[in-house]
């Protein structure tokens, strides 16, 4: 890194939205909390199930990634679905068996599975 301009170039690229799908639109981001408490609560199999299910259901407009701890340990594993231009939807106490439904309903049809979201717990 030699200059602020070089840094700004990376920053601006990231701010425009990191992942662009094959159709030229910004991808939906599925973010799994993978800090120690998330992992202890079973977030790794959830992460793997999402990657697997995106493949199985031929989803190309979404990508799964990891993040650190959001701070709500008792609700782990926590998965955020961030669709461009829409409110973030937070799924809590996620298990691998809930993933196929979340992918088919929320990611493909755009209908969040309300019973698994934070709404149902608070």
């Amino acid at each position: 890194m030699k200059s602020l301009a070089e840094l700004a170039a990376i920053r601006d690229k990231m701010k425009q939205g990191a992942a662009i799908g094959e159709d030229g639109n910004e991808k939906i981001r599925i973010v799994v909390g993978l800090a120690t408490c998330g992992v202890a609560a079973g977030a790794r199999p959830v992460f793997d199930a999402i990657a697997e299910e995106l493949k199985n259901q031929n989803v190309t407009n979404a990508a799964v990634s990891q993040t650190g701890c959001i701070g709500r340990c008792t609700l782990e594993p926590i998965v955020d679905v961030i669709a461009p231009g829409k409110d973030i939807v937070t799924y809590v106490h996620v298990t691998a068996d809930k993933i196929p439904q979340i992918i088919s309903s929320h990611i493909k049809e755009g209908v969040p599975v309300m019973e698994y979201t934070i709404c149902a717990y608070e």
């Binding site: 120690t36 408490c37 409110d87 937070t90 709404c119």
Partner: protein, 503 residues
């Protein structure tokens, strides 16, 4: 149920009541970015503060900003960070070091782990800024070995930062070089003490040494050294970027900015909470934490780990900052905040913490090595029902001696759990000593189990009793043979009718 601003039910976690009173600076990107992708950090203005410091500011400007911001060390003692940097910058010496204390040993505190796992670049960026400010070219992050994931993420982050030229030689074409290495702890709580931490990095028994000389003058390898904790560092890029006035606008007269608390124990919403200094315990425990679950009564909030104290509900509306917590006999510590309900015995809790310090005392100075052991034995005596009338006075006197004569903060603060519980929960000590009772029903030697008239004779207690101490015919009231009872609590747990009394 939660309401978003528009009034409809929100599906976004950040709209929940848990986050309403929070202000996230140190935890800004935890749970937002992928910590293994440096580009994501840069996308949220990462490394901009470093770039501006190196290209637009002199080292003394950086120190001025920190001094004006009012930032104080988040590791416990609350020393002004800018001042610490200034001392190290002015200290004579060719070689200087920057260290990060990530030896988060307080049981119940996990904010540093979360920052390292969720946003490691913020710490790397801040350490590089510190190195520029004091004129160091080498840094060490001392991490607990109990945090393997944090170590892995830090390794990845350091590797990426090197690849991007944000660590190494001639950063931002400024001629400034900085190299950063990880050193692992090996399970010694005392290594969280600054001089002990440096002694450990040097490859010795991690024993503290007397100060002065302070590390800023004579620290690691006898060179001037800045040592800050993870959370302190995580604030710094934001302060450089947004200006000291922005940071100083939050908090109280003496404590600026925010503090992260690891809220745990008997509270509904366990988690990491970052609030402006000056927030009250009531706001944190009741509003953010959702109070004590299961209809139980709140008894105390413990802050500051083994060096802190237990705060009763009468001090719930005290605004939290370094001075206020000290005034009520506790301390900020690194930010563990454990909620205890009516089922916790305060004498037992004091004994628990003293047991911790006895094990973790490094043994170098007598007041701590022998004093904490004796304190623990006295508490043991009280909880086992052998307490005598003058024990409270003896406890108080021994506490004073340990505090005034120990070498380092571990010993000086070790009696705090005893003193604070004696101050606020003296009646529990008296109950143990005079009445030979444990009001919370924790101390086994003081417990007796009896069966009351709610008993319908279902026989479940008798079937489960491992000592065959319970007798009685079906559908008649049962009885516990006190000479056989081993106080295992099984009958109490198994009874569906609330027919077992303990006390």
């Amino acid at each position: 149920m939660i309401e978003s601003q528009s009034g409809s039910k929100s599906t976004n976690l950040s709209d929940t009541r848990f986050y309403k009173k929070q202000r996230r600076i140190a935890l800004r990107l935890c749970g937002i970015i992928d910590p293994e992708q440096i580009d994501e950090y840069i996308g949220y203005d990462g490394y901009e503060a470093l770039g501006r410091a190196l290209t637009e500011m002199k080292p003394c400007d950086v120190i001025d900003i920190l001094k004006k911001s009012g930032l104080r060390g988040r590791g416990g003692a609350g020393f002004p960070t800018g001042l610490k940097w200034e001392f190290a910058a002015k200290a004579a010496g060719e070689q200087k070091y920057v260290c990060c204390n990530a030896d988060e040993g307080d049981p119940g505190a996990f904010m540093d782990r979360s920052i390292l796992e969720g946003d490691p670049h913020s710490v790397i960026e801040a350490m590089t800024i510190a190195a520029y400010a004091i004129g160091a070219d080498q840094g060490y992050i001392y991490v607990r070995a109990e945090y393997p994931l944090a170590v892995k993420r830090l390794e990845i982050a350091i590797g990426k930062a090197k690849e991007y030229g944000l660590l190494g030689e001639n950063i931002f074409d400024s001629g400034f070089n900085f190299n950063l290495e990880i050193r692992l702890g090996a399970g010694a709580f005392v290594c969280g003490e600054e001089t002990a931490l440096m002694t450990s990095i040097e490859g010795n028994r991690g024993e503290p040494r007397p100060r002065p000389p302070f590390p800023a003058v004579k620290g690691l390898f006898k060179s001037p050294t800045v040592l800050n904790n993870v959370e302190t560092y995580a604030n710094i890029p934001q302060i450089i970027k947004n200006g000291p006035e922005w940071f100083a606008s939050m908090g109280t007269e003496t404590s600026k900015g925010t503090k992260v608390f690891a809220l745990g124990g008997n509270v509904t919403n366990v988690g990491l909470v970052e609030v402006p200094m000056g927030t009250t315990l009531r706001e944190i425990v009741d509003e953010i934490g959702g109070g004590v679950p299961g209809g139980k009564k709140f008894k105390a909030a413990q802050t500051g780990g083994p060096s802190g104290g237990c705060i009763p509900s009468k001090h719930f509306d005290v605004p939290i900052d370094y001075e206020q917590l000290a005034a009520i006999g506790s301390m900020m510590g690194s930010g563990g905040l454990i909620v205890m309900d009516e089922d916790s015995c305060m004498v037992d809790i004091a004994k628990y913490f003293l047991g911790f310090t006895v094990e973790e005392s490094c043994g170098k100075c007598n007041p701590c090595r022998i004093g904490t052991k004796r304190l623990c034995e006295m508490l043991e005596k009280i909880t086992s029902g052998k307490g005598e009338d003058d024990d409270i006075e003896k406890l108080e006197s021994l506490c004073r001696h340990i505090m005034s004569s120990s070498l380092c903060a571990l010993g000086q603060t070790a009696p705090n759990p005893v003193i604070s519980t004696l101050t606020f929960f003296k009646d529990e000590y008296i109950a143990h000593i005079k009445d030979k009772k444990c009001p919370a029903g924790v101390c086994k030697d003081l417990l007796s189990y009896t069966i009351n008239e709610k008993c319908i004779g279902c026989t479940i207690c008798a079937k489960n009793c491992p000592a065959d101490a319970i007798t009685g015919a079906v559908k008649t009231m049962h009885k516990i043979d006190q000479s056989k009872c081993i106080k295992c609590n099984v009958c109490f747990e198994k009874c569906k009718f609330g027919a077992i009394d303990k006390g």
